[in-house]
Amino acid sequence: MIEAKNLNLYYGAFHALKDINLKVAEKSVTALIGPSGCGKSTFLRTFNRMNDLIPGVKIEGDIIVDDENIYQKGIDVDRLRKRVGMVFQKPNPFAKSIFENVAYGMRVNGISNEKVIKEAVEQSLKQSALWDEVKDSLKKSAYALSGGQQQRLCIARALAVEPTILLMDEPASALDPISTAKIEELIHELKKKYTILIVTHNMQQAARVSDFTAFFYMGSLIEYDLTKTIFTNPAKQQTQNYVTGRFG
């Protein structure tokens, strides 16, 4: 169960997110769309408190993850981030071997049994549909992989710590069409097990992969509904204009 309640976010004096209320359906894909600068990425990053790293950020309101307000005092941010996995815009593997990239999350979370780690690495790489391509070269540097492979490695890395929620920040924007198709296919598979939030600037992609879509504009949530509804019969004129490509 994930929910944003009366969420406001400020970068210094700039009001970046305005009173957002949104309930995310479990084990489904929710797409966050909107023109650049609308706050969709910022919103995504509130779910694993990634915005904490930026100086001058102030947050009001609640984000509920598994019946717990993650912005209340005494929350263990490291443990929260273990439950909420994240995939970034550009593939960002560590300067380590393929194996160690996937194993990293477990190691920093206190798992030291090599057998357990090995099994989990294999499992995660299979889940991200990368296993067959890398099973003979697990010791090689992650930089030796292609961009699309790197991004799937990053997904495997996120899956290895067994999150329940997966945040994806334009995960295919830096990839070629074939790699993009692979990632989209993967998202379809993953939603059976995970609740997925995906930011995308690509309307077709949102239509293809998501079950629900939230349209953001200038820091406000304009409309949130089934993807089908948003793309075929939106309630608001603004949404209509955006999804049909009249602006943005």
Partner: protein, 288 residues
């Protein structure tokens, strides 16, 4: 649960170790400055700065050393500044991306890493002995100039590199030639950074001792230099002499503290000026 507590504790321990080590380090470094300022402050008087040394350099002032250092700074900058800036311009704006450019950059880096005493040896061998300048301002200035050269080249290069390509393209698009673009667009924009580098290299040149030991520095001179072929006293060498081989080291200690403080003040002022330039001129350019 257990592991996340361990994680927190490890982080707290690690961060506090770094904090403590940094505090200790800053305290040590700061106390060095404070010590010299504290001990030297009472010796800095108008007389100290404007008078000749007296009574075996245990009394009087350090005027000739100040004059000497100023003339060496001026001399070396006359050599290094134009050469360095021109060289930086060539490397960044003209040199084609090939082995030759890499070679020049490599040589510049190498020159930057050569120890100052080797510059001293070289300066003595070339300027003092071979070119027969003798121990003189010109020999010292040339030696110091060569020492400062790579620093100025590098600063110029960096400053030019940081100017966005679009400014150059905009200028070309208006029909300006390459030289006009560099002189009227690129150089003015990079000037604050170049000047900052110049000022910092003045700081370095004014404090160098090893290169002037055998090219210009005099232990004691009763009068000021009258030509560029004269020897001079210099502040850093003066401090060295006072603290290691003065005629009466105990009595000249005060003079040494004063000289050390003057050197620190020079560096401090130059750093301040550099920071001011960096701040204000940069702002001015951005607002334009």
């Amino acid at each position: 649960m257990n592991h996340s507590i361990i994680k927190k504790i490890t982080q707290a321990i690690a961060f506090n170790i770094f904090r403590i080590m940094s505090v200790i380090l800053v305290a040590i470094l700061f106390s060095i400055l404070a010590f010299i300022v504290y001990r030297g402050a009472s010796y800095i008087t108008w007389d100290f700065i404007t008078k000749m040394p007296e009574e075996g350099m245990t009394k009087g002032g350090i005027f000739p050393a100040i004059v000497g250092t100023l003339s060496l700074v001026a001399g070396s900058m006359i050599v290094a500044f134009p050469l360095g800036v021109c060289s930086g311009i060539y490397i960044n704006e003209y040199a084609p991306e090939n082995g030759f450019k890499r070679f020049i950059k490599l040589m510049t880096n190498n020159l930057a890493g050569v120890p100052s005493i080797v510059f001293g040896l070289f300066g003595m061998s070339l300027f003092v002995n071979t070119l027969k300048f003798g121990d003189s301002i010109i020999a010292g200035s040339l030696t110091l100039g060569l020492l400062a050269l790579p620093v100025i080249i590098r600063v110029t290069e960096e400053a030019l590199k940081s100017i966005d390509k679009t400014y150059r393209e905009a200028s070309y698009a208006l029909g300006a030639t390459k030289l006009q673009t560099i002189v009227k667009v690129v150089l003015p924009m990079s000037m604050p950074n170049i000047l900052t580098g110049l000022i910092l290299s003045i700081g370095r040149v004014s404090g160098e001792t090893a290169p002037i030991l055998f090219t210009v520095a005099a232990y004691f001179l009763p009068k000021l230099p009258t030509s560029i072929f004269d020897q001079v006293m210099a502040l850093p060498y003066h401090l060295y002499v006072l603290s290691t081989s003065g005629t009466n080291m105990e009595e000249s200690r005060g003079m040494a503290y004063g000289t050390a403080l003057v050197l620190i003040i020079i560096v401090l002022i130059l750093n301040l000026i550099a920071n001011i330039i960096r701040h204000f001129l940069m702002k001015k350019i951005k607002h334009k």
